[in-house]
Symmetry: C2
Subunit: 342 residues, 2 copies
Amino acid sequence: MVGIKDVAAASGLSVATVSRALNGHASVSEAARARVLAAVDALGYRPNAVARSLRTDRTGTIGLVISDVLNPYFTELARAVEEEARALGFSVIIGNADERADLEDHHVRNLLERRIDGLLVSPADGHSPSTLDAAAGPTPVVFVDRWIAGADAPVVRADGRDAVRDLVDHLHALDRRRIAVITGPAATTTGRERLDAFRSALARHGLPLPEEYVGRGDFQAESGRLATERFLDLPEPPDVVFATDNLMALGALDAISARGLRVPDDIGLAAFDDIPWFSHTDPPITTIAQPTAELGRVAVRALAALIEGEPATSTVLPAHLVVRRSCGEPVAPTQSGGAARE
Amino acid sequence: MVGIKDVAAASGLSVATVSRALNGHASVSEAARARVLAAVDALGYRPNAVARSLRTDRTGTIGLVISDVLNPYFTELARAVEEEARALGFSVIIGNADERADLEDHHVRNLLERRIDGLLVSPADGHSPSTLDAAAGPTPVVFVDRWIAGADAPVVRADGRDAVRDLVDHLHALDRRRIAVITGPAATTTGRERLDAFRSALARHGLPLPEEYVGRGDFQAESGRLATERFLDLPEPPDVVFATDNLMALGALDAISARGLRVPDDIGLAAFDDIPWFSHTDPPITTIAQPTAELGRVAVRALAALIEGEPATSTVLPAHLVVRRSCGEPVAPTQSGGAARE
DNA sequence: ATCGCACATGTAAACGTTTCCACGCGGTTC
DNA sequence: GAACCGCGTGGAAACGTTTACATGTGCGAT
């Protein structure tokens, strides 16, 4: 591999001057710069980022550890993160934790060894030692979407409480009274928050939340299917199921279709996280939309600030209700066929 | 930051012995190993992968450059790649080219500077100089999904020709005769292959493919919507639209719904790439499924072989037709007790 | 006894950069 | 005319590892 000293030799200059020329440093003559560039071209020199990182103690890389790349919510988040990071001159290494604490641990440790400049993480539960270490250690860390209570790192997330209240209001207005919920893991902050918010929202209307109307899910499709089947087996099944993420909603839809039931006539369905396909399911699904891409961008900016040594603050962005048709017709009576546009 | 020489000092051994102990090298006494481990623990030493990489000329990282992370097909591919890579001890840096040649170029160059051990790329078109350089250079490269004709690198991809023929047979059997297609970019191998396969399949049945039945798309949803609108504006619109990827199919569905038309009664829709949501759209969509995850795994294994200095071969896996209901009811009126549909 | 070998360990040289410090030189400022 | 400054440049020391080579020891074979 051709290195900087080959360039130096070819251009008749020292490695120091070549390095300065390449990094756009001040005080290197035009003539020298031109000779360096010519030599670089002639030799096909590519700088070695590894060596540079070793010397400068900066890799120009940030790590992103998320729970599930197949979840469109996290996919969108990852994309936004990569975009903003690139704009700021960083590359992104993604670690997929698959909702498993051990994998999260593996990825965090691995990323720290690679000396990433900063870490963005959506912790599965609070039990990954590496994640805790990271938050305490010198590498800047920002939590995104989910966080760990005790840890000392900024959090960038959406608050769904108001939107959940709006959702319950909406359901109540449609005369739904037996509302069940499929929660995420209690270990996750989002899982707990959504259930809490839902509980209080029901309480405002004096609606009960019997234990058998609480399905324990894990943010994956299969758990949504299972929970819904259990609901449908109940002597008095709910008239709406609220799945607290998009994959579990998909699973719920599966279970409902499998029984030959129809949404929303036989049972209503509401979800958390808006994704493009929710407009195209049968019927289009009422859901709570998060400002996903914005979350990603803000998180990256907060992390970049930390990396620059500036202080960074936590951010909470609002989520909002998107009414479609899966909980009953909002206004006009049923029309058949095509999907409604919003 | 605590380095290997701190560990050496703390354990009263030399850096060489510490390094050997840490890397599980032979011929280091149990006593020494124990002392090293104790010191590591006490100091909280974490190896510096950057320094190691500089010395060993290996980063334990592979690059993956794909066209669009938001496309579920590529998401699934990326996930499979990451999984297999992790199993083989590699981390993955993902670059999202967003179907743009300049971004692809940026990512490939960036990854090469980072001295990744190998590169997996799904080239947008053949015009990225960096990609061409990479394929010619010393870093192992494997093309996945798409490839570049002249380049000297193994290709791992699916062959959709047979499946496309099956699809056209299926459409023909359902008495569809005016079949339109939305293609991907002609610059991509997949774009061209699917159109070619479709053309020959039509020819087998003596069906024409008029120029106005060929919509030029770019594998993104919006182009599918546009192309479909143009089809619907035709004096004699097609009775089936075949979208050659899942996002364009989504766009087509949008356009069709927007006009209040119904699938499959008013117009049929077929797609390429199977994704979970295709079972849940209204109606479920007939499509050609690729062995996506398998493609990712095979590609990683081929790349790993190359990295080890072993030869690697190209692989072609078959795609296959998945019949659902978006092109008309299959032979039997209703099959498996799915949802009762209108 | 000598040799040679296996073993455990240490010394020091790389890996490819960036950057601190020093140097020479022409031009100002006293 | 001496002292100083700014500019362009070069020499060489880091950065934290791995590893080739050297060293020293104990021991079985000659």
